[in-house]
Amino acid sequence: MNRFHAKFKILSAAFSCFFGITLFFVFSDIMTNFLGSFLRVDPSYTGGEVCGEFIGNNISANAKPELVHYTVHQPVTNARWQRSAEYWQLVLEYKNPVAASEDTRIYIGLDNQKNNDGLWDFEVLLTAGEGKVFDRDGNFITAVEYYLLNDGTQIKFRIPLSDKRLQKVLGAKKTYHYIVTEELSDEINPLEVTMTARKKDKKAEAETRAYVSHVKELYYQTRFAADPEEADFDNGKPDANDIDACLSYYGQKIKDNPEDYESLSNYGTYLAMKGGRSSIMKATALVKESYNYLDKACELAFEKEGEIDVLLNRASVSASVPEQVFGKAESGAEDFMRIVLLSEDKILKAYSYVMAYECYKKRGNESKAFLALQEAKNMIE
């Protein structure tokens, strides 16, 4: 028995060495994402726990329409490796970089420091590239740490809490925010934020998942209703499920016309599909090869009729291949965003936004993912 036990151990060790490490690296993408779902960076490094989040039209009637997301974090104390050990982070996200470069005023009131008129206690003025905090009398208090991120669509600013007047934020239970482009008027209602950390909203997450699958289903229904993938034997087009036949069909078409970008794109897509049904080694080689055709097709189809279909093929492949192996999520998201620009079809646009959301999520770019999802929701509720 002991001998058998020892042999079993040796064989397990041999398997781990010969195949275990290789398999780990091949499937590390899945494992990394799984482990990553349990981990999080200490909030003092990322700006504090989120305690208030406002989306789109809910932000303020007087704010710029391009402002799509406003996040209020809990104030951070004793932060390491940051410019200020005590700070309060607020984040504004815009649809486009131009809007982010225009002036914005945020009037902030604290529940523990209310003035008689009950409006606001200090003002943050954000101009291009910098931000300043003033008190009610217009006296300068401090400059904020200003970060322009995500290709200029996100303004993250941190108010240093070194000044006594600002330190009251640390004790505030509620804060009130007015985001405006001009002077503050009495008609605007503030955004009320309870300064406690929000718990992970499992219900919202489930709703998002349901929304994403709903949009995808809607797209598939409309697409296949309009263009049923049936064998088009009249044109010699083979059954779409017969990958090898499709490959030889499109391969022949490419031979006849090497500039035929639709055939190039289809050929690349079928190669990737074939990869999905092959062994790991072959799959990687096939997917890599498929990009030669997909990239060439996109290049040839640029600003021509049929560009959307060609882009859609490449983007779909990019969205479905393992990120850790191929690293295509970012380019997939870019392709989907270009489809949004080119297409007039509302459902296709929503589908592209949803797919871009998934690609950005894969890349760990939460901010862009959020924006893409919001845009999709604007298309289809």
Binding site: V41, W81, Y147, T284, G364
Partner: protein, 395 residues
């Protein structure tokens, strides 16, 4: 011989997949794959002929990888930020690259605070927290501290410098025990300090490899002190002392990951065995060991295995005139003694040879090395090629 061929064929498949196919079958990737295969085949056949004679290929690989890694990493930093200095944008967005040295510093605070105390991405990047933690875990249960001598992309600097001089100028052998004690003492200090500060204290103040990767710009007195410290530590522990002592002084006295890997090495599949019946007590192994893992007492007390800090580099195997040191499965190593004579002598079948712990360990370590290095090395080789081409063009 057959086992060497089988191992080489298996390694060929791995290298072809991870180095050539994953890098679009580019010319550079083929060149690097050929280089890796050359090293592995030479190492395997040399070891087959004479145990311990293949260590030179490990040294070459690790040194080349360390230089290539830093080149690729620095070029990435310049592309992203325009300098090696850490920017406030990167810090505030928690976008710093996370490396294995930070792992022991974040683990204890993770248990206490349930947060990672390092401003890095959790996923979505090659140097993200989750991917590095997984690599560490897989490494721990396979090669253990073998990471330091085979895979670590910083260790190659010391590996290279420790083989620059022909003669040992400073003999550290009598101080091996003190060195190990200092290493673990410093490790526990770093863990405690990281827990108290809720920040990676070693990365902040001591890491010498900031000089060849990224560093905080000297904008205040503390950052200036940190800069002086890391430059001094790099010059002292990574360059000068390895040249004088022919040992990896930073790895065996300062690196918290080294100490941590030593402590967790008991979970790995492999260990080193000293056959006390064969050992003549010449102390050549102790003098050679770059990690100060064998000292006079190890031999005198007939422990049957090196000390806890052994990184399984295999240097001692080659220098032992009695062939008393070898790789062994950890589950076969007897507690407090050795499995002396258990491997037996005489002719072995190909399967027995294939399943020999030394072969398996080297295969596992080299697989790790090849996969981990492929992306960086190809980037570095591309940089070198572009540089050479631009010089050629200018001429």
């Amino acid at each position: 011989m057959i086992s060497c061929l089988i191992l080489s064929a298996l390694m060929f498949l791995i290298v072809t997949f991870f180095v050539v196919i994953m890098n679009d079958c580019s010319v550079i990737s083929v060149i690097y794959a050929a280089f890796l295969m050359f090293l592995y085949i030479r190492m395997t056949f040399a070891e087959h002929k004479k145990s311990g004679s293949g260590v030179i290929y490990r040294r070459i690989f690790q040194t080349v990888f360390a230089v290539g890694f830093c080149m690729a990493f620095i070029s990435d930093l310049y592309a992203e930020r325009g300098s090696m200095a850490i920017t406030e944008n990167a810090l505030s967005s928690a976008e710093l690259p996370f490396c294995h040295i930070a792992i022991p510093q974040v683990l204890v605070p993770l248990l206490v605070t349930k947060n990672i105390i390092f401003p890095a991405r959790i996923t979505g990047h090659y140097a993200a927290v989750a991917s590095m933690l997984l690599i560490w875990f897989i490494c721990t249960i396979t090669v253990g501290r073998g990471w330091c001598s085979w895979i670590c992309f910083y260790g190659g600097w010391e590996e290279g410098f420790s083989h620059v001089a022909k003669k040992r100028r400073i003999k550290l052998l009598p101080k091996n025990k003190e060195l190990r004690e200092f290493h673990f003492g410093f490790f526990f200090f770093i863990i405690l300090a990281s827990l108290c500060e809720l920040a990676c204290v070693y990365c902040d103040w001591f890491c010498p490899f900031k000089l060849v990767t990224e560093f905080a710009p000297a904008t205040s007195i503390p950052t200036l002190i940190a800069m002086i410290l890391f430059i001094g530590l790099f010059v002292g522990l990574v360059v000068v002392l390895p040249i004088l002592t022919k040992k990896r002084t930073q790895c065996s006295s300062l690196c918290p990951f080294g100490a941590f890997a030593s402590l967790t090495d008991r979970f790995s599949l492999f260990g080193m065995k000293i056959d006390t019946q064969k050992c003549s007590g010449c102390m050549k192994c102790a003098t050679t060991c770059p990690f100060s893992a064998i000292d006079i007492k190890t031999i005198q007390e007939k422990k049957g295995h090196p000390e806890i800090t052994c990184a399984k580099c295999g240097e001692c195997v080659g220098v032992c005139p009695q062939k008393a040191i070898s790789y062994e499965f950890r589950f076969r190593l007897n507690k407090g003694g050795c499995a002396c004579g258990s491997s037996g002598s005489g002719k072995k079948s190909a399967l027995q040879e294939l399943l020999h712990p030394a072969h398996l360990f080297r295969f596992a370590a080299f697989t790790f090395s090849a996969i981990m290095s492929s992306g960086f090395m190809i980037k570095a080789l591309n940089l070198v090629c572009n540089f050479v081409t631009s010089i050629g063009g200018a001429k």
